[in-house]
């Protein structure tokens, strides 16, 4: 299996400073927020790679960089061997763009309320001048809606049905990769299971590769082949699903697993994690997790750990073994 997405040393810094006049008057320095910091990973073709992390961990930013909505500050992203940020051949860029689509979290905000479902679904093809006749109807049936729905407007559908429309739109240009940013977070559990099952079916049918972004460990466990855990913009651990869940090596991954509510843990008395995610504008020195880490030693606060390979796991921790 070759890598269809290759991310190398990806860094994205956002300038969140106040306007220059305020900075001069209030004598404040520039504020730079490092949303993604030196992240590298590869996604093999026809697999599901999941990025998990809490808010502010940079998971959505990575997704946006991969589809090309946000340019990287440093590092490169190759999709099928093409780097969208530096490639100059328009035809190649177009070909790659058609191969990658995105599903967003909020199905209420990601569909144009003034467009008919037919136009929404056909847009990725129409924009490239392709043939769209009957396309929306066919895709609607594939995602479990009916062909008659093509003439309706988004407000006539429930949340789960809207997410199906988003999936149909993502499929219309026959992509190889779909970046799913929290695709079921806005849905109720009974509807979530319908959408997850649909996504699994479509993956098999079309040989899709998913980059699955989520904060929900149970959903990630259900969907992913390989999981990358992010903390404050840094990839701290990456392992195949079963390895990660049976033997988490990074203390943050362990903390995350312990904190997640479990359905079989009636009245469990947990020792809750200490502290909160630090400020990304002034991240802690060394390992970003060291202020909250129960195992931290002096070296952790001075030296940022490199990604090391231990068995099937890649982990960024000085003490992991």
């Amino acid at each position: 299996m070759s890598a269809i997405i290759k991310v190398e040393n990806l860094t994205r810094i956002f300038d969140v400073s106040k306007p220059w006049l305020n900075r001069v008057i209030e004598r404040q320095p520039r504020a730079l927020l490092t949303a993604v910091s030196e992240v590298s990973f590869e996604v093999p073709e026809n697999s599901v790679y999941a990025l998990v992390g809490e808010s502010g961990s940079g998971k959505s930013t990575i997704g946006k960089i991969i589809v090309g909505l946000v340019p990287p500050t440093k590092g490169r992203v190759e999709i099928e061997g093409v780097d969208l940020a530096s490639e100059t051949d328009k035809a190649r860029i177009d070909a790659v763009r058609a191969d990658i689509q995105m599903i967003f979290q909020d199905p209420y905000a990601s569909l144009n309320p003034r467009w008919r479902v037919r136009d929404i679904i056909a847009e990725p093809v129409a924009a490239r001048g392709g043939k769209t006749e009957g396309l929306a109807e066919r895709l609607l049936e594939q995602v479990g809606l009916s062909a008659q729905d093509a003439g309706k407007y988004p407000h006539e559908f429930s949340g789960g049905q809207r997410q199906r429309i988003c999936i149909a739109r993502a499929l219309s240009s026959e992509p190889k990769i779909i970046v799913c940013d929290e695709p079921t977070s806005a849905l109720d559990v009974s509807v979530q299971s319908q959408v997850l099952n649909l996504m699994s079916d479509l993956r098999e049918e079309f040989g899709l590769t998913y980059l699955f972004i989520s904060h929900d460990l149970t959903v990630v466990h259900h969907m992913a082949d390989v999981i990358g855990v992010l903390y404050l913009g840094r990839l701290v651990e990456e392992a195949p699903r079963d390895v990660l869940f049976s033997n988490p090596k990074h203390p943050y991954t362990r903390m995350l697993f312990d904190a997640a509510p479990r359905m079989d843990a009636y009245g469990r008395e947990v020792d809750p994690p200490k502290g909160e995610i630090p400020d990304a504008i002034n991240p802690p020195s060394g390992c970003a997790f060291h202020p909250r880490c129960p195992l931290a030693v002096a070296r952790c606060s001075s030296e940022r750990p490199d990604m090391r390979r231990i068995g099937e796991t890649r982990v960024a921790c000085h003490l992991a073994q």
């Binding site: 559990v189 869940f245 509510p261 359905m263 009636y266 909160e276």
Partner: protein, 331 residues
């Protein structure tokens, strides 16, 4: 039961008159919460769980109103109170924790001002005593350096810390009942775990009755003593948390549990409940769950929907799952 319970809700009905007829977001709901007990209320969006909480505390937005039934706080009816009488009760005997901690605090007042205002309003204490109590309340919910931070504004706190302030605010007048409406939904898992532990501790130490409204079954399993499952405005199932989540009797509860991905299941296909919850203006004539239910028979579709008390008091279903049957149904 009723003499020890802090909150008794009896046959509560909330109705919203609309142009297309009267909607019933809460339909004959009855339950009790005892002192020191956490009742979890779960359901999908639109099931009426928040509406029930708002009806109890008197925060229904018109035209929604209570049309029948009773809400008893320590035996005293509160559903008919209005204006000043209701205002004195809210905050003093009932506290509320909302989902979004940023919108439930006033951004223009320091958290100290907001706490002391509440304390002075409801308790007969001096200004300096109120301030002392405010600091103690912040201390209790785990805000570090409470004495220094009492002069801070809400925006200076993180999401988790803000939710702690909201909890302190709900508890500072020493209420008997706290309604927590999705208190951890806006928070990250690690912070969520902290808030749940805090809620459980305060509930146990102070003997407060807590109504915990959430859609997260995991949160319910960890925090609640008893659980009420709501569907389309009615109670579908009510019982001790182990019983309801572990041996669900209502097919909806069983379906909800089976459709949540579990680590032990691995990659198996998720069991799904077909369809979606009916809209309130298009409820089926019989049991509201019948169109999605595998076990539905003619009786479910024709007779008026079953209620908890017309069935066995545990599940509002004509043909509930028997204990041990769940495994077969899933196999």
């Amino acid at each position: 039961m009723s003499n020890t319970s802090v909150l008794s809700v009896r046959d509560l009905v909330v109705e919203i008159p609309t142009r297309h007829g009267i909607l019933r977001p809460v339909d004959h709901v009855s339950y009790d919460i005892a002192a020191g007990e956490i009742l979890g209320v779960v359901g999908e969006s639109g099931a009426g769980k928040s509406m029930t909480g708002n009806a109890v505390i008197g925060l229904l937005d018109p035209p929604a109103r209570i049309t029948s039934g009773q809400v008893l706080l320590s035996g005293q009816p509160v559903h008919s109170l209005k204006g000043e009488a209701l205002r004195r009760l809210r905050g003093k005997r009932m506290g509320m924790i909302f989902q979004d901690p940023l919108t439930s605090l006033n951004p223009l007042l320091t958290i100290g001002d907001q706490l002391t205002e509440t304390i002075l309003e409801h308790l007969d204490v001096s200004q300096s005593e109120a301030r002392r109590r405010a600091i103690a309340a912040l201390d209790e919910v785990g805000i570090p350096a409470a004495r220094q931070r009492i002069g801070s504004y809400p925006h200076e706190f993180s999401g988790g810390m803000r939710q702690r302030v909201v909890i302190a605010l709900a508890l500072c007048a020493e209420p008997d009942l706290v309604i927590a409406d999705e208190p951890t939904t806006a928070l990250d898992v690690s912070v969520q775990a902290q808030i749940i532990v805090l809620l459980k501790r305060l509930c146990r130490e102070r003997g407060v009755a807590v109504m915990l409204v959430t859609h997260d079954m995991g949160v319910i399993a960890e925090a609640a003593d008893r659980v009420a499952v709501m569907y389309a405005g009615r109670l579908a199932e009510l019982g001790p948390v182990r019983e309801v989540l572990g041996r669900a009797r209502h097919p909806y509860t069983a379906g909800l549990m089976a459709s949540t991905p579990l680590a032990s299941q691995g990659r198996a296909r998720l069991r799904q409940i077909p369809g979606a919850m009916p809209r309130l203006d298009a409820l089926p004539p019989g049991c509201a769950f019948a169109p999605r239910c595998e076990r539905a028979q003619a009786r479910c579709r024709e007779e008026p929907g079953p209620m908890l008390d017309t069935c066995d008091g545990r599940a509002a279903c004509w043909f509930p799952l028997e204990t041990g049957e769940k495994e077969e149904a899933e196999a």
